[in-house]
Symmetry: C2
């Protein structure tokens, strides 16, 4: 469950120091942030924020993965964002958010009181600049995802998703033959890709039958043919659409 901790990691030892909203800050600005921050941790599956709930804090993801989801009245759900470490949750100037934020892993957040943070932005241009960059990056990602949701087939969606995991995994570990962790259930993947869980399952099976991937267990797989995988994504040869 949700635990609030006083800040105990020094900012200059923080794993997301170079990528988060603070990345452009100088020493004085860092000292200011350091005095304001507090950490919260959430267990896998915890809801971090409910849609419509008043937004008391904004936060950077320090470790773990959180998802943003929107649910329609009848229960249809669409994931609208995947928040990896260094991503920023919440927005200055808005008192509520209109999606649910959920921890898919154990998550640690570096939190700031929303009202104080809004004042900080006016005084600290480096934070606004970095927040602008992060928002524009998110926007690029959202636009790529719109192509996937609006135009790709189920097979292309799954191939794109696997390629994404594979690229992300090889950033941390350059052995391409290593098992990759799916992190999510079939149900969560279907919400991410705009499919049903049955279709996700069938497409995994199909890609396995075609020798493109192989599952060691339900949650871990190996990409056996990276080029063939890419051919199934619908993106062009140089990865253009993802750019």
């Amino acid at each position: 469950m949700n635990v609030i901790l006083k800040s105990h990691i020094k900012c200059n030892q923080c794993p997301i120091r170079h990528r988060a909203i603070c990345s452009r800050c100088d020493e004085d600005e860092m000292a200011m942030l350091e005095s304001m921050k507090s950490y919260r941790t959430y267990a896998s599956g915890d809801v971090i924020l409910w849609r419509g709930e008043p937004l008391e804090f904004v936060a950077s993801v320090v470790s773990g993965v959180a998802t943003l989801t929107k649910t329609m009245e009848d229960g249809r759900t669409q994931m609208v964002g995947l928040m990896l470490p260094s991503a920023f949750i919440g927005r200055p100037g808005r008192k509520v958010i209109d999606f649910d934020v959920t921890a898919t892993d154990d998550v640690t957040l570096c939190c700031f009181d929303r009202v104080k943070f809004e004042k900080l932005i006016d005084d600290t241009p480096h934070v606004a600049q970095r927040l602008m960059e992060l928002a524009l990056d998110e926007l690029d990602a959202a636009r790529d995802w719109m192509v996937l949701l609006g135009r790709k087939t189920a097979r292309e969606k799954i191939a794109t998703f696997i390629e994404l995991l594979s690229r992300h995994s090889s950033m941390n570990n350059d052995d391409h033959t290593k098992n990759i962790d799916l992190h999510m259930t079939r149900d969560q993947i279907s919400d991410y890709l705009g499919l049903t869980l049955e279709t996700v399952s069938r497409q995994f099976t199909a890609l396995k039958k075609d020798g493109i991937i192989d599952f060691s267990d339900r949650r871990h797989f190996v990409v056996k043919d990276l080029a063939a995988l890419h051919d199934e994504t619908g993106d062009d040869a140089d990865g253009g659409i993802v750019a």
Copy 2:
């Protein structure tokens, strides 16, 4: 075709003065922007920027509507943004953009040299702050659109689209019974909604048969039953998902 004009509208008479990237600027900052800007105009249908083309300028939409589209190798196209007056095109820190920008109406842009603008952002916090807000607004819109693309039925997509036009039109003109201009062809609408043009046409016909809308000609319609229209969007009663 594309015409470049020296700036001739004074910023303090500009129609988007209060909403564009300059909205937070003081007099000195405005003078700076005024000296840098130039206008470009495009005719309906002109391509403003091709995907992959080096990005020489960034710009605000002053009048008219531009679209951002991504096209897959085999021609499948998805619109990923609709740029209305005050929207900002281009992003500091990126030399190319990975979508096409097209004028759907006659469009006037207020342009700034990209490199100069990037320097400006470092010196003018009010611009970075506003750009952050605009990016976050775009992000919210993109996330709503992801729900539409991933989870809504054809009928819900069309109803949402019509409601969007209707809301936008009543902002400028509060007579709800007035003809609303579609602005786009069926083909462009289908690219916006992730459908085919035939499905768009059929859903228009269906909504007309059900007495919810009525077409005066191919491009102009009236909403006859706003409540019934909303019921078809799939969004909840208070418009929650759009929030």
